[in-house]
Subunit: 117 residues, 2 copies
DNA sequence: TTATCATATGATTAATCATTCATATGTAGG
DNA sequence: CCTACATATGAATGATTAATCATATGATAA
């Protein structure tokens, strides 16, 4: 441990713990990709809309604004990253939030917001 | 409500709820920016390291690899988005996770990972 | 007050990404 | 089958961003 600061021993302990708990590069990449998927305002808005319930593409488009192609691309990104899932119902594809972890993250992110203006 | 699919009445209810609960554009932008801040693997890795405890810049750099300048830029992005906070201790700046919401999000994201390979 | 150490910052460049337009796919009804 | 409808996809381009390099700041110690 390099003596870079005045408490290198403490930091040594922290680093040891951090490295022991550190996910693999692949796991980090997956986590990061998921955060990236929900880090564009238009995609986040879609996710917030879907947090109220299942919707077809046209109604998602109506709820968030924008055009069909853009929304479809955004849905693909969200789905590829397992943020949302889809099922077919006749001519329509219905989208919904993938699981409770996502709902929890959205909820926590909203809470963290309180404290900004 | 446009009759885009076979259950427009149900969707109407969902959209009504979604729009009622929808944060402002500004709030969405803030949330999105925070997700973006933790959506780059190198920054996420820094955050995962800091989740074990407070560290100075040089030790963060040692823990995650990379060079001092890059890490410093990444720390700035995380700090600007209130993901981490800092305090000075003599010659050093010590960084730590900003609050419990962030820790919760990281924990939830790790859980969501289980189910991938 | 000068030298050194720890960290931050500005500018540049290369890579990544979102949006758009045009078109394709798949489904249902006639 | 043929048409209309709902959604998806590919290519192109303009915008955003991360990494790097060089330099600046701010603190300590001699």
């Amino acid at each position: 441990m390099k003596n870079a600061c005045e408490t290198p021993e403490e930091h040594e302990g922290v680093i040891k713990t951090a490295l022991a708990d550190m996910p693999s590069d692949g796991a980090i990449a997956t986590m990061a990709a998921r955060f990236k998927a929900i880090s564009e305002p238009s995609r986040l808005k879609i996710l917030l809309a879907l947090s109220a319930g299942e919707l077809c593409v046209e109604h998602i488009t109506a709820a968030v604004g924008g055009n069909q192609s853009a929304v479809s691309h955004q849905l693909k990104t969200l789905k590829d990253n397992r943020i949302i899932k889809s099922r077919r119902a006749g001519k329509n594809i219905l989208y919904s939030v993938d699981d409770d972890h996502i709902m929890t993250m959205i909820k926590v992110a909203k809470e963290h917001l309180h404290g900004d203006e």
